[in-house]
């Protein structure tokens, strides 16, 4: 960018600059704190911090949670099923990315 002053809004890159609390993650994904707790127990999300109040989620949890929420809502599958689907989707993404290199 050149040196001109711009009024454009500046945001933070969630995946690199942001850690989310349980409340923030729930609000961003329109999901209850109870459901987030379920995802943590299923191993879908791995926050730092020992208690629910102290949990901090890495920025990439946002995309993962949103995907989990869509799958659960649209396909009517339960949390364990969604956790399995996410693992399989990760593997597909990894294999496809190897094919494209």
């Amino acid at each position: 960018m050149d040196g001109t002053i711009s009024s454009a809004l500046r945001g933070s890159v969630v995946e690199e600059e942001v850690e989310l609390t349980t409340v923030e993650l729930g609000r961003a994904c329109r999901t209850s704190e109870q459901q987030i707790e379920v995802w943590v127990h299923e191993g879908v999300l791995q926050p730092s911090g020992a208690t629910r109040e102290a949990w901090r989620f890495r920025g990439d949890s946002l995309a993962r949670m949103r995907l989990a929420t869509r799958l659960m809502r649209d396909l009517e599958i339960n949390s364990a099923g969604v956790a399995l689907a996410l693992d399989l989707l990760d593997r597909i993404a990894e294999l496809e990315s190897r094919l494209r290199r």
């Binding site: 809004l9 945001g11 969630v14 995946e15 329109r30 946002l62 869509r70 396909l75 689907a85 494209r100």
Partner: protein
């Protein structure tokens, strides 16, 4: 408003006599097949929207009865206007659960996004700005989400984008209208596909003094003619002449920041990746750019060309490109 009639039974592939269980089963099967997060089909998103909308109507016995009441003589795609008082006696214009309550056809990317046909029958749904539980006291506004498409070059240089967002607002008479607004957004250098930008306070307004929600922008890249992005690394296919690959050469390689010169080691084989360190997507840990070598063969169409290939054949009498195919 004239819209086109939609045959929801046809969309789900069930007869008009289908039971609620048949409908549920048909919906689940099609939803798994066409869900945009799972399906690789090009039209998955459109198909999924249609399936979802058909299910919204047919899974709800009351809406289904109202839809059925219009008769079975309509054909999909026919110009359609709801008959006067067609919905008398039905009460589906009240509270909604499921995707209707999710509060967002925001930016057209979230949740249930009804067609004009659906809206002509059942009204505009999920568009209430205060959707969700209303509590007393101050309530923070909802977070909103939208997608932004940028070019690879925008991530190398940083960029500005003007984005338009459609969001539901409540009008003075209590109805819901879609309001368009535009935002100038700075796209930071080094942003990667799939990452999100959080713009604090650009979501839905709060109630009772609650703070405004945030806006999350999901970044996607337009497909590029020559570059592929994998994480922070960028790949480009680099064709070489046979003699460049065999003897070594210095060739021009395009990068998103301009052309650079690359030394090709002698005896390079196709598929070999040459790394240009730090020339991938910029950032704290910048990615690399990989030139994937390929060999392009000139056609032997002239006498001199044919003679050159014949000389080559004589020079390598023991060369067997298919040696590894033998057991």
């Amino acid at each position: 408003m004239a819209t086109k009639y939609k045959d929801y039974y046809e969309t789900l592939g069930v007869p008009r006599s289908a039971t609620q269980d048949d409908i549920k089963q048909a919906y689940r099967k099609l939803a798994r097949k066409y869900h945009p997060d799972v399906s690789k089909m090009a039209d998955a998103e459109t198909r999924f929207k249609e399936i979802n909308e058909a299910n919204e109507v047919l899974k709800d016995p009351e809406k289904r009865a109202a839809y059925d009441q219009m008769g079975s003589n309509w054909k999909a795609g026919q110009d359609f206007q709801p008959p006067p008082n067609w919905d008398a006696g039905f009460e589906f214009r009240g509270g909604q659960g499921g995707p209707f309550g999710a509060g967002g056809s925001f930016g057209g990317a979230e949740g249930f996004d009804p067609s004009d046909f659906f809206e002509s029958l059942f009204g505009r749904r999920g568009a209430s700005p205060g959707a969700g539980p209303r509590r007393s006291g101050s309530v923070q506004g909802e977070d909103h989400h939208a997608k932004v498409l940028i070019d690879l070059e925008d991530s190398y240089r940083g960029a500005e984008r003007t984005i338009s967002l459609r969001a539901p607002v409540e009008t003075a008479d209590g109805r819901v209208a879609m309001q368009e607004r535009t935002l100038d957004v700075h796209i930071p250098k080094g942003i990667r596909p799939g990452q999100h930008l959080r713009l604090a306070g650009q979501g839905a307004p709060g109630a009772g003094g609650g703070r405004t929600g945030d806006l999350y922008l999901e970044i996607e890249f337009n497909p590029h003619r020559i570059f592929r992005v994998e994480g922070v690394d960028v790949y480009v296919d680099l064709p070489l002449a046979p003699w460049e690959a065999a003897l070594g050469a210095t060739v021009d390689v395009p990068t998103p920041e301009g052309t650079v010169q690359l030394t090709i080691p002698k005896s390079s084989q196709p598929g070999r990746k040459l790394r240009l360190k730090g020339r991938g997507l910029p950032g704290k840990n910048p990615g690399d750019l990989y030139a994937v070598l390929a060999i392009a063969l000139p056609k032997a169409e002239s006498d001199a060309g044919r003679a050159a290939y014949e000389t080559l054949a004589k020079a390598f009498p023991a060369f067997d490109p298919r040696a590894h195919l033998q057991g």
